[in-house]
């Protein structure tokens, strides 16, 4: 067990280092070095430029810059945004919270819905209901996230009358926390539905195929032979055994959900890390773009690690392989 944990920690660390290195290389390959890029940027003051030069050692050789960059990044110092003129890490933390408010409920909801319809679909393998569920999930999986979001916006404008941009109404003085929360919920509805539907398709298919795979195993056939009821086999044997594959595949799906969140946030102007990427691209705000990229990639890698470790705890077989 200990060596399994150690191995996972090591590979996670390697991935994170790879992400940071990739970011370093990419943002150094920008046309013009970072110093001249900043000097050309009239939004930065002279003091800020001097501070950045010192802080990131931008007048030192490249390999030295790399280590200074790594050291700074591990301390949480990701530079100063060209556009907001604030430290990148402060902006990111605020935005990350907003992203999680949207991402966690919709991913959980997608998994839950996926387990229900995936199970129904596997149970009624190749019957009409299975075909309806699998083709619906295929279509949902294919729909471009931002297009689905756009469809909901169009629907909302004509029928639903739900807010389509942002997290709260501008300039509203709330009477109580409940009012504020209600406003948040009404703004959250459409992005939440979009993100849930987009991830739901793949979860359903993952769960269905895991169940179908397991139902051909000998111990399931043996249970049928012993005369257990279908319901009992399904609930006690199939669902229990399928929980592990679901866990590991959910970890892979976290990446998909995050990608979906980036596009969903952009369409609905939800002030999360995803929308921040869009704004950073539009404003050519490279430090902010780099910071958003680092935060998103590292979060996904960490989520994968947690899933791997959980898997190791639950299933002793993977520890040795």
């Amino acid at each position: 067990m200990f060596s399994y944990i150690l191995r996972k920690l090591f590979s996670t660390l390697a991935s994170i280092l790879l992400i940071f290195t990739l970011a370093f290389i990419m943002f150094r390959l920008l046309p013009g070095d970072p110093v001249s890029l900043m000097f050309r940027d009239p939004r930065l003051t002279r003091e800020q430029i001097d501070y950045l030069m010192r802080e990131f050692g931008l007048n030192k050789p490249l390999w030295e810059q790399y280590f200074i960059y790594l050291l700074n990044a591990f301390r949480g110092n990701l530079g100063i945004s060209f556009y907001y003129k604030q430290p990148v890490n402060g902006i990111l933390i605020e935005r990350l919270v907003n992203t999680l408010i949207l991402l966690i409920p919709s991913t959980l909801c997608a998994i839950l819905l996926g387990v229900v319809t995936g199970s129904i679909s596997a149970w009624k393998n190749n019957k009409a209901i299975d075909k309806i569920i699998t083709s619906t999930s295929l279509v949902l999986y294919t729909l471009p996230t931002y297009w689905l979001g756009g469809l909901l916006i169009i629907l909302s404008i004509t029928y639903l009358k739900l807010p389509v941009t942002g997290m709260y109404n501008y300039g509203v003085q709330y009477g109580s926390y409940i009012d504020r929360l209600l406003d948040l919920f009404s703004h959250m509805t459409l992005p939440f539905i979009t993100l849930t539907l987009v991830s739901y398709g793949s979860f359903t298919v993952i769960i269905r195929s895991a169940l179908v795979d397991i139902s051909t195993e000998d111990f399931v056939k043996a249970s049928y032979a012993m005369g257990f009821s279908e319901k009992r086999i399904f609930l006690k044997i199939l669902l229990k055994n399928v929980s592990l594959p679901i866990l590991s595949m959910s970890a892979i799906a976290i990446g998909t959900s995050v990608a979906g969140a980036v596009l969903t946030e952009t369409v609905f102007a939800w002030p999360g890390v995803g929308r921040l990427i869009y704004d950073a691209v539009i404003n050519r705000d490279y430090p902010l773009l780099q910071g958003s990229f680092l935060v998103i990639s590292v979060s996904v890698v960490l989520a994968n690690m947690i899933a791997d470790l959980l898997y190791g705890v639950l299933d002793p077989r993977v520890r040795t392989s």
Partner: protein, 291 residues
């Protein structure tokens, strides 16, 4: 080599004949290709024809899919947009497959350090959300359509390499390959004569399956304002529908058709690719609706 190839073509023709999923998928794809190629002849208006008397007008007899904020005919724009969407999808997918094929063969055939390195890179590329990396790379490097194709390909070969590697691992152990090795055939010869032919059909299926991903990535990139938004494709129509505020004011005829075309095209390609993959991988054959 030639003989082996002939039998592939024959078997592929045979597969198409007896597979309704693939027939339907190929038919829809072919329709899209024809529309894309004949756009200049069948489009009622040109790309630069602006009609200032009808700006953001809903569909009518004159403009079947309405007009955009410059008074251009949206049906014509959508038709013209197909070509570059298809082209970028196809080229990125082919390039990604070539990289994936080479990496998969190298990684599967040679054990040891090189396999370990490639496998870790593949794990990494599969784990991180590719679109985020594409956006970042695109906003730094992308100046035109070629750099976008390159970026999409560089970030989408990993799943292909993984499948190819697993096939190579099993083919490598087959008796005739071992025999060739024992007879002193060089690595290059074994790869060319035995490994390569055995992975080509699956590579074809995976290439077809990569096209929808590439098309979506391209559209998503353009929608996020990365790459060149001047270049007309389905993604740019969606982008302009969004940034011009037409989406927020409910101009559905501007936003719905390009996305619908994207979805139809992808579904058709996925149907074709999945059907081919099922034929090539007998393990999947029982599954009628594997995604």
């Amino acid at each position: 080599m030639r003989k082996a190839n002939n039998s592939y073509y024959k078997s592929i023709a045979y597969i198409i004949k007896g597979n309704s999923d693939m027939k339907a998928g190929l038919a829809i794809t072919a329709l899209f290709v024809i529309l894309a190629l004949t756009a200049p002849y069948i489009a009622p208006y040109g790309v630069y024809d602006t009609d200032t008397s009808s700006i953001l007008k809903p569909p009518s007899i004159k403009h079947l899919l309405g007009t955009d904020e410059m008074g251009r005919d949206l049906l014509s724009l959508n038709l013209y947009a197909l070509k570059s969407t298809l082209l970028v999808g196809l080229l990125s997918a082919i390039l990604a497959s070539i990289i994936g094929l080479l990496m998969g063969i190298i990684s599967g055939y040679y054990n040891g350090l090189i396999d370990w390195v490639i496998s870790r890179v593949v794990d990494f590329l599969i784990a991180i959300p590719a679109i985020v990396l594409m956006i970042v790379m695109g906003s730094i490097f992308a100046s035109g359509i070629l750099s976008v194709i390159l970026i999409i390909a560089l970030l989408s070969w990993a799943p292909i390499a993984r499948v190819i590697r697993s096939i190579v691992l099993s083919v490598k152990e087959l008796p005739f390959v071992q025999a060739a090795k024992a007879l002193g055939a060089s690595d290059l010869r074994i790869i060319r004569k035995h490994i390569f032919p055995s992975v080509i059909p699956m590579t074809l299926a995976l290439t077809i399956l990569s096209i929808p991903n590439a098309i979506f990535s391209y559209a998503a990139l353009v929608f996020m304002g990365v790459g060149s938004v001047e270049e007309l494709n389905l993604g740019t129509i969606l982008y302009y529908a969004y940034v011009s505020g037409s989406l927020a004011s409910g101009k559905w005829w501007y936003f719905i058709p390009p996305g619908f075309l994207l979805v139809m095209l992808s579904l058709a390609l996925m149907m074709t690719g999945r059907a081919l993959e099922r034929e090539l991988n007998p393990r999947l054959k029982g599954e009628q609706h594997e995604l």
